[in-house]
Symmetry: D2
Subunit: 331 residues, 4 copies
C-alpha cells in the first residue's frame, strides 16, 4: 500500500511536492491537501485527494500516514508540534521556524517524544543534501583524496529578491541553505561567522543590502565564504568549491544545450531553483517515503540540523548588526 501523504501549503513549493509525490515518487500518494486558499489547494491536489483549509483536520485525518509542511514559515513550528501529538511523521520545509525560541521548542519536544516512545518523526527539507553534485563533493571531501579541506567558496544567486526581503531574511531564508550545507560538507561545526556587504545593487530596496558576503569558520579551522546575491537578475546560480591541501573540487556546471548563434557560444541558465534542484527534491522525497515504507529512520536532515542552521543564522544576524565583526555562534 502506498504511503498516504497530506500536504499543507499549496504554493510554489507545496505544489511541486504534490506533483512529485503524485507522479514521480515510488510508494506514495497524496490523499489530502490543506491551504488557507481552498481554490489553490484544489488546483494543486490530485483529483482523488481531499481538500481543506484547516491543517489540523489534515494532520489528524485517518487518511494521512505522513505530512509535508510547506506552508508559511511562521506556521512551521506549530504544525510540526501538532504532527508530534498525532504521532505522524512530518517533512518540514526549511526553516524549522523563523525564531530560535520556536526551533528550540520543537527540537525539545522531539527529544521528549524520542525518550517516551522511541519515535523520530521530524525530517527537514534541506534538499541540497540530496543533490548528486553536493553528495559527490561531500564524498570526495570526506575521503580526503586531496588532503584536508582548507577553504570552501560558495556562491548563491537568484534572479530577484522576494517582496519585503531584508538583509536578515536573506540570511534566514536564502543563506540558510549554505548554513546547513557547509558544516555538512566539512563534517565540522561552524564556530564563528562574519557578515559583510559592499555597494548594493540598484535593485535592492528597503534595508536589503545585496549582494552580501559572509565568512564562516569551522571548528576544524576551515574558512568558508559565501557570496549571496538575491537580485542577480541574470539567473539562478549555486556554486561550491572545496580547496584542499593538494587539489580542489567544485560542483559541476549544470548541463544545458550548447548553442552557437549570433557570435556567441551560450547555454541557458534557469530563472529559479527548481530545475537546478529538481533531482534533489525528488531524491529527498523518495528517501523519505522509502524510509517510511520500511519503517526506518529517514536519512534527511533532522530537527537538530534545522536548529543548528537557525543558530548559525542568528550569529550571522548579530554580525550584521555589529558592523561585520566575527561573532561566535551560540548553540
Amino acid at each position: 500500500m502506498p504511503i498516504r501523504v497530506g500536504v499543507i501549503g499549496a504554493g510554489v513549493m507545496g505544489a511541486d511536492h504534490i506533483r512529485n509525490l503524485s507522479t514521480t515518487i515510488s510508494g506514495a500518494e497524496v490523499t489530502f491537501v490543506a491551504d488557507l486558499d481552498a481554490g489553490r489547494a484544489a488546483a494543486a491536489a490530485p483529483p482523488s485527494a481531499r481538500i481543506t483549509t484547516d491543517p489540523s483536520e489534515l494532520i489528524n485525518s485517518s487518511d494521512v500516514d505522513a505530512v509535508v509542511v510547506a506552508s508559511h514559515d511562521s506556521t512551521h513550528a506549530g504544525l510540526v508540534l501538532e504532527c508530534f501529538e498525532a504521532m505522524t511523521p512530518v517533512l518540514c520545509e526549511k526553516p524549522l521556524a523563523p525564531t530560535l525560541l520556536e526551533s528550540r521548542e520543537v527540537v525539545e519536544a522531539e527529544a521528549d517524544l524520542l525518550a517516551a516512545t522511541g519515535a523520530r518523526l521530524l525530517s527537514m527539507g534541506f534538499m541540497r543534501r540530496f543533490d548528486p553534485g553536493y553528495v559527490a563533493l561531500r564524498e570526495a571531501t570526506r575521503a580526503r583524496t586531496q588532503g584536508e579541506p582548507l577553504q570552501v567558496h560558495c556562491t548563491s544567486r537568484t534572479v530577484s529578491a522576494g517582496p519585503g526581503a531584508s538583509s536578515e531574511s536573506a540570511i534566514t531564508n536564502s543563506a540558510i541553505h549554505e548554513l546547513d550545507i557547509i558544516p555538512w560538507l566539512l563534517d565540522s561545526p561552524i564556530t564563528e561567522v562574519s557578515w559583510q556587504a559592499g555597494r548594493s545593487s540598484r535593485y535592492s530596496t528597503g534595508d536589503l543590502r545585496d549582494p552580501a558576503f559572509m565568512l564562516l569558520r569551522a571548528a576544524d579551522g576551515t574558512l568558508a565564504t559565501l557570496e549571496l546575491f538575491l537580485n542577480a537578475q541574470y539567473g539562478y546560480t549555486t556554486r561550491c568549491e572545496v580547496v584542499s591541501e593538494f587539489g580542489t573540487a567544485a560542483l559541476p556546471e549544470p548541463a544545458a544545450l550548447d548553442v552557437r548563434q549570433e557570435g556567441k557560444r551560450s547555454s541557458e541558465i534557469p530563472a529559479d531553483w527548481r530545475p537546478r534542484f529538481a533531482d534533489a527534491y525528488r531524491l529527498q522525497l523518495q528517501a523519505w517515503i522509502s524510509a517510511l515504507e520500511k519503517g526506518e529512520p529517514a536519512p534527511l536532515a533532522t530537527g537538530e540540523d534545522g536548529l543548528r542552521a537557525s543558530q548559525l543564522a542568528q550569529g550571522m544576524i548579530r554580525s550584521l548588526h555589529s558592523d561585520g565583526a566575527y561573532t561566535k555562534v551560540i548553540y
Copy 2:
C-alpha cells in the same frame, strides 16, 4: 492501486528496470520476475515478488498488469506476441527483434490487434527519447530557431565491445540508438545510408571493424554522421550536434565534479551508459506507467519505430557488405 509489473529477464538491464520500478517510479510495483536462471531472478526481484523460469507463466499471470521484456534479443518477438494474446501492455527493450522478418510479424500482429480491439499494447525501449538533452535538442530543432537543420553529427563510444561483437551487431545493438534518434530529431525519415571504417583498434577482434563511421541522408536532405566506437576504452560518450542554417546546438556535456589535482583539471567520464541515461530510463518508465494508470496511449517509441530502426540497420548492413556504397533504406 499500483500497476503490477512483471519483468522478463533479470540481467543488467532487467535488474535496472526492476530497481527503478520498485524504488523510483510512481504508481508501479514489481510482482513477478522471470529469468531462465531462477537464482538471478530471485536476486533481482523485490521480496514480495513471485519468481519463475517460465516467461509464459508470468505473461499469463493474474498478478501482472503489464510486462517489461528485457531478456535476450532473440526472445523479444515471441514474448511480445504472447503479450498480445494475453492482451497485456508490454515495454520491449530494443531491438524489437534481431531479424526484420520477426519485427515485421510483430508490427503486423499489433496492427491486427489494433483493428480488432482498438488496443495499442507495445512500447519500445528507445530511452534516449526521454533524455532531457535530446528532448531539448529536438525542441530547438523543430522550432527552427536556427533555421533548417543541414547536418547532424553523432558520436557514440563505449569502453569495450561485448563478447562476440561484429560489425553487424555493432549496428543492430549499438548504432540502433542513433538510427532511431536521428529521424526522430529531424522529423524526417532516413532514405539512404553508408557504412565506412578505417583502421581498427588493436582491441577489435573477429570481424568487428571498430571504430566505424556511418552516413545517413534524410528525406529532407539533411546529412547525418555517426562515429561508432565500441572499444574506445576511456569511457562512455554520447554526443549529438545539429548544424543549422544560422547556428548549432549540441547535447550538453554530462555534469561531473570539476577536479583540479596533479597538474590537471578533470572530470569523471562514466564507464557505461547507465549514469548517462539514468534519467532517461526513469522518465521512460514513469511515462509508461503513468499512461497505463490513466489508460492513455504510452508516449514511448512504438513497434513501428522499432521496425523502422531495424530497416535502417538492415540498410547499413547492406552498405557494409557493399564496400560502403550508399544504400537505399527499404521500408
Copy 3:
C-alpha cells in the same frame, strides 16, 4: 641588422603581415610594399617603406632581403618564380597556385635551384602548423600516448562565403587548410578522398553546395572527416579531434570572457579567422624571420607541401564531380 621584407599585396592578409612584421616580430622591418592599388599600398605600409605598383621592382630591389607574397592567388606562382630568379627567400600565402600545373612548375623550379645552388627559398603560409593547439595535438598524436590514431574529425566554419564562392573554391581556398594539416598531424599521406553534401543553406548561392562533408583516408588507414560550412553565419570555428585506440584529444576551445547575463552563460565567438589564428600568424612569421637571420632552413611548410595540398584538392574536386565517389589522390 633587421631582415628587410618586401610585402606584395596589401589586402586584408597582406596588411596583417605588414602590421605583424612592423610591430610584433623580432628582427624584421618592412621596407617595400607593392599593390596594384598604390593608395592601398601606402595605407598599409609603415612610413619609412617604399611603395610600388610593380611587384617585380620590389622583388629585384636592393632594399629587400625577403619577400612575402599575399597578392591574388592567380599571381602567386609567377611571383615565386621571379623570387627564385632574384635568389630571394619568399613566404607565399596559400595556395601555391590555383592550378596543379603551375604548382608543379614552381616545385620543379625549386628542385632545380636546390640542385644548382643548394638554396631552399620557398616557404608556404600554412599558418595552422604554428597554432599552439595544433602543435600540441600533433605532439600528442606522434607520441602515441593514446595508441594509434584511428579517426580524425575536423570542423571548419566561417561566417559567410566570399563573393563568387563555389563548391570547388570552397575546397581550394578553405578546405585547403585541413588538406594540409591532416596528413601533417598524422604523419601519413592521404590516399583517397570523398566529397559529399546534403541540404544546402539558404545563404548558398550559385553552384556552392554548403555545408559540405569530406572524407579522407590516410595511408596508415586513419579515416578523417571534415565538415566545411562557409555560410555558418554565427561565427568562425575550427575544431579537430583525434580519436585514438585508448583516448581522444581535441583542440582547445578558444579562450574568451565567461559572461552571464539575461538567462545565459555565454562567450564570444570571433567573426573571422584572425583572432583565432593571430598567434599562429605571428609565430609563423617569427620562425621565418629567425631562420633567415640565422641562415637556416625555414621550419615552415614547403612548396612540396603546397603541391600536395593542391593534389588533394584536385582529388576532392574529382570526387565532387563523381557524385561523391572515393577518388584516389594522384601525387
Copy 4:
C-alpha cells in the same frame, strides 16, 4: 635601429625577458646583461651581448638605450635611481621596492626628474595589465554593460611557496598582482583591507599561513576578495570574476588540449605563471619598446602604481598583525 636593451638579473624572470627581447619583440636587441653570477649572465645572454657583474657599468654604458631590472627585489630601488641619473628609461619588475620608504623615494625622485626635464623614465612590470583576458574584463567593466560592479572575486594559486616565504612576503610578492589589478579593473582606489586565514596546508612552513583570504573595499563601495594559496600543489591558477548589477564576467579558462583517457576528461594546468602570462609579458615588453621607438610615454604601470600597490600591501600587513581587522590604506 633597434632599441638596445640592457637586462639586469639573469634569473628565471630576467632570462625570460632576454629571450623575449631577442626573439619575439619587434625593434629590440639585448646588448648587455648583468648578473652577480657571470656564468648565469653568459648563459642567458645572446651571443653578441656584453656581460658584466656590475649593474652600474651596464646602466651607464653607451651600448644601452634602455634597462630592464629583474634582479633581487632589494636592489630594485637603487638601480632605478641609477637609471634616473643616467637618464635611461627603465622597466622595473615588481615590486618597486620591498619597503615603502624606498618606493616613495623612487617616486619622488621621478617627480623631481619630471619637473626638471619633462622625462618619465620608469615603467613597472605589472604584466597582467597586458593579459588579453584582464584587458577584456576591464573593458567590459568600464563599459558598464552589466551595470555597476558590486563584488570582485579573485583566486591566485601557485604550486609551492618559495623558500623562506612568510605571510608578509606572500602579500608583497604574490598578492601584489591583485593589489595592482583590482583598482585598475574598477578604476577606483582601495580604501581599506582585511587579511584573514583559516587552517593552513601541511606544506606551509615558518610563519606562512597559507592559504590566506583577503578582502578589499574600493572607494566606489565595491567589495573585492582574494584567495591566495601559494602551496596549492596542483598547478598555477589565476581567476577573476566581476559581479555586477545584472550580470557577471570572468577571466576565460586558459586553453589546453581537451583529453579523454582512463575514465577522465582532462586538460593540463601549467605548473607556473609563465605559460599563463606569456602573452602578457610579450605584449608588455612590446608596448614598452614600441613607445621607446616612438618617443612616446610607455603605456605600462608607473612608479606611482608601484607605490600604490606597496601601500595596499602595507595596509594588508597591518591587518594581518591586527587579527584581520579592516585597516585603512594610507596613501
